[in-house]
Amino acid sequence: MTTTVHVGLAATVTGGVGASPLRPDGRLKVTGEFAFSSDLWADDMLWGATLRSPHPRARITGLDLGPALRIPGVYAVLTHEDVPGRRLYGLEHVDQPVLAADEVRYQGEPIVVVAADHPETARRAVQAIGITYEVLDPVTDPEAALDDAGAPRVHADRPNLLRHVPIRRGDPHATAAVVVTGEYEVGMQDQAFLGPESGLAVPAEDGGVDLYIATQWLHVDQQQVAACLGLPADKVRLTLAGVGGAFGAREDLSMQVHACLLALHTGRPVKMVYGREESFFGHVHRHPARLRYEHGADADGRLVYVKARILLDGGAYASSSGAVVANAATLGIGPYDVPNVVMDAYGLYTNNPPCGAMRGFGAVQACFAYESQMDKLAAALGLDPVEVRVRNALHTGDRMPTGQLVEGPAPVAELLRLVQAKPPAGQADFPPGGTANTTRGEGVVRGVGYGIGIKNVCFSEGFDDYATARVRLELIAGRPAVLVHTAAAEVGQGLVTVQAQIVRTELGVDQVTIAPADTAVGSAGSSSASRQTYMTGGAVRAACQAIRDRLLTRLEGRAPSHRHTYRKGTLPSSEGGRAGETALRLADGQVFGEDGTVVADIAELLADGAIEETVQWRHRPTFPLDPETGQGDAHVQYAFAAHRATVDVDTELGLVKVVEIVTAQDVGKAVNPAAVTGQIQGGTAQGLGLALMEEIQVVDGKVRNPSFTDYLLPTIMDMPPMTVDVLELADPHSPYGLRGVGEPPTISSTPAVVAAIRAATGAALTRVPVRPEHIVGV
């Protein structure tokens, strides 16, 4: 593996911004000692378990809890009637029952929760519950669901159309010399985090509850849990427990309310841990999509128009479908400059498993389609696939189909050229089929494909997106030390490391402690939308700068020779320094003057007491989309990544070995280069998984493969070596110029892999994941 990092800003502090200090959880995770939420323990705790619907759509006609209650060791058996507060929850629409009342709308929907003194007893109690259903025909075809007159409604009180985002730019009737059309399909991918949904709810003496939980956003959980429990927010306190991966699947509630209900009901701590199979029913998935595209270009391959229709199957409840639809629409033609756009994206209710957030969030599905289209266009014109992309590449100063001006760097052409210029891949370590001895070269053909994608960073459409950080600089054993307290969820991305790096750079103090994330401090927003380094990083930085200001004011009370005029500057500048301010610098626990001499010890200045600052930090505002035209400055920042995939395909068996992946991504500023590379590798692997194997197979509303036996994730034998090129083109609006990193790699690796298989086989491949039978055409 080679990694080239173009460092724009020299790392000045050990372990500061731009360095790659080791993450504190790394060793523990590798050795199996890290405490995940499923390891939580309280001595007198009970175990929760959940009765779920086996049917995608049914009316509950009878419920007999008696047999469960009679089992010794069972302490509580609760239904919707035991929910003291709001009986529904939801991120965007409050439409999902905490426990189903009379109708179930998807397979796996929770109906009853049980607490018992042993997990096995709890499971047996669940099985003992008597329940009868009147099974109804599920609504499973999103296309049919769209027809409000024809299809039954999933929710009686509203149409199945959850959201429609139209975008109209330029002339809707534009015509072009070369036209390519295509219909594409994306299967239901799962986040497949390794640490299943789990948490521990502990009843408190004040009538409230303390919940230790693996989640992506403590405060949005807190709000929802408190509402459902009918408690004020301050009686529902959440602390982040060890998170075993998230990828969007922990944005919605799973067992949070259930565990709290059981704990408050029994007066005992209650632990809930989903098993692997249950986990497949316990969280939302990536929206399956059907996409229809028409691209029109002039004879030189310049796009004249794009018309697209995207149908996203939201499943039984809204979750974050609305925002996913908006993303698919606004990012749906890709990082290209297109004068005329007619885009319609729809999200629908069906009785399929609920879908919501997953890494890439609507941009993934669209990218597979528009990049497939760009290849089709290249073929129609006899152009190189990179060339046709470069000719249409978005640049700074161009406008998105929403009319939003692309500010800051947009190195679309540059990223494409970078991956294209890499030397061709060498020999594969082994042929397609791995060690399974399927070929000695027979039928094996090589192919190369490209993909580029675009993603918005942070929350969009006028959402009040902020993060809070409390930072305290104090003396510990005579030495300056910093404590950072936020509610930001470390989900494995390395945020705790990054927070400490920012503190070291801003305050020049080496010793930084990151307090456990909890709701005792203000919201950090979600660890999603590639936003947390930007947002919580931004908040920590702002808090540090406020502390720095106060610290330096203390200088003024000191010896006259050390007096400096200190101007409070406005933030930020991409280079980390602040023009027009004092040249005083904090490093190595000291304050340095302009001439490099030590002006004061930080410790000395802290003799007057600790300095603490709590800052609520916002990115610049975004605005809603016009409901008719889809025009509006909806996004904060755009991020781009390009991939080149090289594959060997056994064309007779349809087996694929990805030989190499080359990628280039602009990250603005690599705050932690090792973590950035990790995100790019992991994201790319997840995109490869969607291209080749990852799919929850749903038939008639039922999941056929809820296990890691049949929901296949790429292994180390499937992931090839990668060449990672990281560009650092600073965004003038973001802290340190950084750009969100986590999602872009997932977006463009999928189309690149599929394009490579097409290049090797000539097969049309309009659906992901590509299956062997699609390649061989049987």
Partner: protein, 283 residues
């Protein structure tokens, strides 16, 4: 649930006879999955790992007796020369951890149509030694399986060993999976050439309710291969062999693949493995 660890084979057989609710456990790589998924709640787990005899192998006359408790890793490391087809199959099983724990006896005990150990045992005409307090019997592998995850193993019997003739000619095993490692076979195929007897053995995996031979294909190849001249294989023979193997399967559509694809893949694998084996034989 009781956990019993008999130190000797006789003790194990006695428990097996007395406790119909006992489930034998060897490597546990199937049993523990079933327990975790709550598909099984045995009254007793009968741990066979303490029984030394079960984990040995030895030549007995012309035949090799491989104890039921021999792991895949040991098959690869210790029996790769004598049972190359089985060793090739063992290499495709799960991950290193699974190969360290998983056993051939456990594979037979589960009797999954997708068990990778089965096709090579079919191709080399192995026999399964079944034991109980009533005595011992030998069952040809081709008669061992009676349906998906079902076999002739009686409730009081344990699998003692597999008896198999060491390879007397080239052997091959190929397996299709939708990823490059750690995957249950979509379909698999095993081939053994027996030049001395001028016979061909086959085994099909994951493409019928049980692992099965492709008898017609075996007879066809045995009759068509130029055993005397060791001349190059006619492409038409390999192709026809592939067609006959595919015809012997009765695959289904499931989450792992379609019936049509399984048949197609089997034809390709059979054709390729016959080509390789013949080339290996001719040197």
């Amino acid at each position: 649930m009781d956990f019993m660890t008999p130190p000797t084979w006789a003790d194990a057989l006695a428990i097996r006879a007395e406790r119909p609710d006992a489930v034998p456990i060897a490597g546990g790589t199937d049993v523990m999955v079933e327990l975790n998924f709550d598909r099984r709640r045995p009254g007793v787990l009968l741990d066979l790992t303490r029984i030394g005899d079960l984990t040995t192998w030895a030549m007995d006359g012309e035949l090799l007796r491989v104890g039921a408790g021999v792991s895949y890793t040991r098959i690869i490391e210790e029996l790769g020369d004598r049972l190359p087809g089985l060793a090739m199959a063992a290499r495709t099983v799960g991950s290193p951890q699974i190969r360290n724990r998983g056993t051939l006896g456990g594979n037979l005990g589960s009797a999954s149509p997708a068990g990778d150990g089965h096709p090579p045992l079919l191709a080399s005409g192995a026999q399964v030694e079944l034991a109980s307090v009533r005595g011992t019997r030998l069952v040809p592998v081709a008669e061992f399986f009676t349906g998906p995850k079902r076999s002739v193993l009686a409730p009081d019997e344990l699998i003692a060993a597999v008896w198999v003739r060491p390879a007397d000619g080239p052997e091959q095993f190929s397996k299709i999976g939708t990823r490059n490692a750690m995957v249950i076979a979509v379909s698999s195929f095993s081939l053994a050439l027996h030049p001395g007897r001028r016979e061909v053995g086959t085994g099909i995996g994951s493409a019928a309710p049980t692992p099965r031979r492709a008898t017609e294909a075996e007879l066809f190849a045995a009759g068509q291969l130029p055993w005397d001249t060791l001349a190059a294989l006619e492409p038409g023979v390999a192709r026809r062999f592939g067609e006959l193997v595919a015809a012997a399967a009765s695959p289904i559509d499931d989450v792992r693949g379609t019936a049509a694809y399984r048949r197609h893949a089997l034809a390709v694998l059979a054709q390729r493995t016959l080509t390789w084996a013949w080339r290996d034989l001719c040197g």
